[in-house]
Amino acid sequence: MKKTGAEIFVDSLRQEGVKVVFGIPGGVVLKIFDVLHQQKDVEVILTRHEQGAAHMAEGYAKATGKPGVVLVTSGPGMTNIVTGLADAYMDSVPLVAFTGQVSTNLIGNDAFQEADNIGISRPCTKHNVLVKDVGELARTIKEAFYIATTGRPGPVLVDIPKDVSTDKAEFKYPEKVSLRGYNPTYEGNKYQIKQAAEEITKARRPIIYVGGGAIFSDAANEIRELAETAQVPVTMTLMGLGSFPGTHPLCVGMLGMHGVYWSNMAMHHADLLIAIGARFDDRVTGKLSEFCPEAKVVHVDIDPTSIRKNVEAHIPIVGDVKTVLKQLNVYLRSIDGNQSDLKELRRPWWKQIEEWKRTHPLRYEQGDKVTKPQFVIDRVFDMTHHEGIVVTDVGQHQMWAAQYYKGSKPRTFITSGGLGTMGFGLPAALGAQKAYPDKLVLCITSEGSFQMNLQELSTAAIYKLPVKIVLIHNNFHGMVRQWQDLFYEGRYASSYLGDVPDFVKLAEAYGILGLRASKPAEVEPVIREGLKHRGPVLMDFHVDPFENCYPMIPAGGAQHEMMLEDPPELRKVDRGGQAKKKDKDKVEEGEGVLPA
């Protein structure tokens, strides 16, 4: 029996095991929504903005490892998901986005709500296809899911013209995919792996640098085994957080621009760098010419373009992290045999790292007048025992969340790293919550980012997604203000956000519990009450607007050249409770732009 394209679409999703689709309808996809409406296997989450749908699908995918699915209409529906596609492309998130298109006979005619979906999305998708014939639909969908989820994951867009969703064809879902131009490498080269094993046993100052690839590859156990067998400290990128337990004695925390002092110092002094599913982003390397000057580099990555792109690899290994590490661990066990010898060999290295850690810990000074943002984040993690799924937005709060996060499970720290998309947090948290309705999902955000997608509070309320929103309310685009303080003589060009809206009232308007902590003593009670509440909560923490995030490698600086605290000219300001005084002074001096 022949089926319509819309029915084929839904049957194909069923075949892929898709449980939920995020999207918004429109003219050319009405037929598809109509079919979805009449069945129960695939749930549709109606978002309030297509960007929200795309980030929700990302949150879902990042939390589960399964592809996130988006369905939107042509023209503006499609253009609204571009940020989500670009974000997913940068962070290697498996996403399948279905966009409606005008009927095939109208394509190219500037028809109503026509956009060149394929052209627009080409630079921000792993692959994209226009389906011209309903007979091709099932195969195209099968290929889209395959491409999105294999090799280096990424977003795939399938553009479906209106007539393709109404035309009919026999439905036969292909069993296998055969794409002659696509064949990702999973097995690493044995000889190279052996070489790596030898270098690891010889090194005196080795460090493992783990990135997002380890999480996509589900390789937490293998990393742990590698670290423990070879007695090597582990540092993680922002995207790698969760791949190695934050409380493990071999864990040295996050590296990079806002990474901890001791991990950046360890990178700088290492004699062997074992890079695992990490792409040597400039936020990590700092000044390339001074990056890891003494280290040999082993680089494991499934995508050959990541290898030798920014940094020379002495032992490049193209392959899947899990598969390669399994092999590597076998060699290591056969070569070494004795863990205590390795421990002995690296004792001075450990002592040095411990020393760096002891002398330059993360710190903040919490007085009793003004709440420090770090205090809120620290307390939230503590009171949730580092067990929730943490989703962040972009800015200072994101970096503090990363610094203080000590979770031990992959896929529990979800953030926008490569594109740094403000507005990612709330919808991504909702996507993660949709995937795990019973788990604690925290959305750590600040007013700048939050206001970029706050319309999704409706989605939270309607679908009863009980996310706990931790709003680090500093009245600024804090990260921008920090750069302005440090590099633009404190001229706050377009970074002050003022006091609107009243976020507690806002939450209430959506039927969501709103709580406020205006001073330090209120922080813990608010967290306690917020966590106890069964539905979604917005906790509005008023914090010191002038707190800066350290350590910081200034742009263009080398990894060991970290700023560790405010320079003297900023420190003159009394920070123990009179942070607001500073704006007044500045205004009086004619420097500031803050309203009195």
């Binding site: 052209g119 692959h127 226009l130 491409i147 794409l179 131009g181 995508d303 373009t305 030798r308």
Partner: protein, 172 residues
């Protein structure tokens, strides 16, 4: 250094845009580009002439390989290869220049494929040096218009001659 890269791709809409977009998005330059179907009608061959140091060329090749519809990438500069280009050159011909134009064309085994009372159109095929040399000789006569195909290239079979890279290294 200049590299000639041949890229076998699925003969489908949008593939050329992906390949060209990759070059523009990443700031790689394209000196010339030609596309045509191969013996297998489902496969097209794109020949790209580009410039870059070893690291850039390595990235270009890896990035090309990453495109789903790309089937095979060969940096011909790493092999022994033949490259050819065709140009059509329309020149002004004052009566006193017509013989000279024919003589020059003859030397290059180029053909006059069209003529009018005031112009000749000359077709030439050869490697870049030859095409450029001919253009230089014709310039004084007055070139009205030139179109060039861009280069196509193919590996030589079992040649013992050194590669261009080896030859350059030997010279240096």
């Amino acid at each position: 250094m200049e590299h000639i890269i041949s890229v076998q791709v699925e003969n489908k809409a949008g593939v050329l845009a992906r390949v060209a977009g990759l070059f523009s998005a990443r700031g790689y330059n394209i000196e010339s580009l030609s596309v045509a179907p191969t013996l297998d009608p489902t496969v097209s061959m794109i020949t790209i002439v580009t410039q870059g140091d070893d690291r850039i060329i390595e990235q270009i090749i890896k990035q090309l390989n990453k495109v789903i519809e790309v089937l095979k990438v060969v940096d011909l500069t790493e092999t022994n290869f033949l490259d050819r280009e065709t140009a059509l050159i329309k020149i002004h011909t004052r009566p006193e220049h017509r013989d000279e134009a024919i003589r020059i064309a003859d030397i290059f085994r180029a053909k006059i494929v069209d003529s009018s009372p005031t112009t000749y159109t000359i077709e030439v095929t050869g490697d870049v040096d030859k095409v450029e040399a001919l253009i230089n000789l014709l310039k004084p006569l007055g070139i009205k218009e030139i179109v060039r195909t861009g280069r196509v290239a193919i590996a030589r079979e079992a040649a013992k001659v050194p590669t261009r890279r080896e030859a350059q290294a030997a010279k240096a």
